[in-house]
Symmetry: C2
Subunit: 179 residues, 2 copies
């Protein structure tokens, strides 16, 4: 099991689909089905991204989400903190205060400053956060864009457009007709 959860993983993958989708909003359900993950679970993640100012929501029938700012201004750290809520890597139990030799009262020198063990963990956490902060959504999207075949994003556009118009009845009235 991991400290960086699957919620974060799903969130990042969704945001990557939103990079370059311009002003067209995508619903969380479409993003879920496009990626083969649980729609109801994704629906729990997006409000967190919205409260953090990473995506902007539009309500109503053609509503959905789009990036609230340029993809190069959204770091992986932003996303992790938005979804997980800045949970520390390490939760210091202040063992140093409980030494048996301090029966009755802990001396001042023992609790002065940050616990030495805690300090090491904070340093490690900072190293991790710095690494996450150094990667933007745009970086990874660009890296991914170089891998895909030329017609891929065209296919995605078609798939999304097909779904929206299919639901609102402007096109494809035949398939999956009720009854």
């Amino acid at each position: 099991m991991a400290h960086i959860t699957t919620s974060i993983e799903y969130g990042i993958h969704c945001l990557l689909w939103l990079v370059g989708s311009g002003d067209r909003a995508m619903s969380s359900r479409d993003l879920a089905e496009l990626q083969g993950v649980s729609p109801s679970f994704l629906a729990k993640i997006f409000p967190k991204l919205e409260k953090a100012g990473i995506v902007a929501a539009s309500e109503g029938v053609r509503g959905g989400y789009r990036l609230a700012r340029p993809a190069d201004a959204i770091s992986f750290l932003d996303i992790v903190d938005a979804i997980e809520g800045e949970k520390p890597l390490f939760d210091c139990q202040e063992v140093r205060e409980r030494c048996a030799l301090f029966a009755g009262g802990t001396p001042a020198w023992a609790t002065d400053g940050v616990c030495a063990v805690h300090a090491v963990m904070l340093q490690a956490e900072k190293a991790m956060r710095d690494a996450l902060a150094a990667q933007s959504l745009q970086d990874v999207a660009t890296r991914f864009g170089r891998k895909v075949p030329d017609d891929f994003f065209g296919s995605v556009e078609a798939w999304v457009g097909d779904r929206i118009s299919g639901r609102t009845g402007r096109a494809r009235p035949a398939r999956e007709s009720p009854g």
Copy 2:
């Protein structure tokens, strides 16, 4: 809650007490009571440190643990891995394979190499592990030693010696007598 657990915290604090205690073994119960933590819980942690070659155990009535190698050859990363077992920071769900556009078969270009999101997380994990590997037990013990008053380690020696001899009856036969 934290990914670096309290087991690791307790383990590190114990090992710090063992730095400089030379060839005298300390029992896990003494280490627990010296620090005010659960003896039975500590007893679950030490066998992991022993299997990892960080401490050496001696059995029997005056048995206990001592460091298996010099404190400057034991890094925080060694301890974390010994107790937690090298759990990854991130568990990739391979979302990229499940794209709805890949109905039936995922193309080779999509699964080529490491997932781009996973790659970022691996980089962040490496940054954290490097930071932990850069800190040795000796580093922190030295840093702590500069904080304590001159007679502190003497008091510790006395406390430990008192406990051992008190239990085996060589001294202090009076206090806490039964009945």
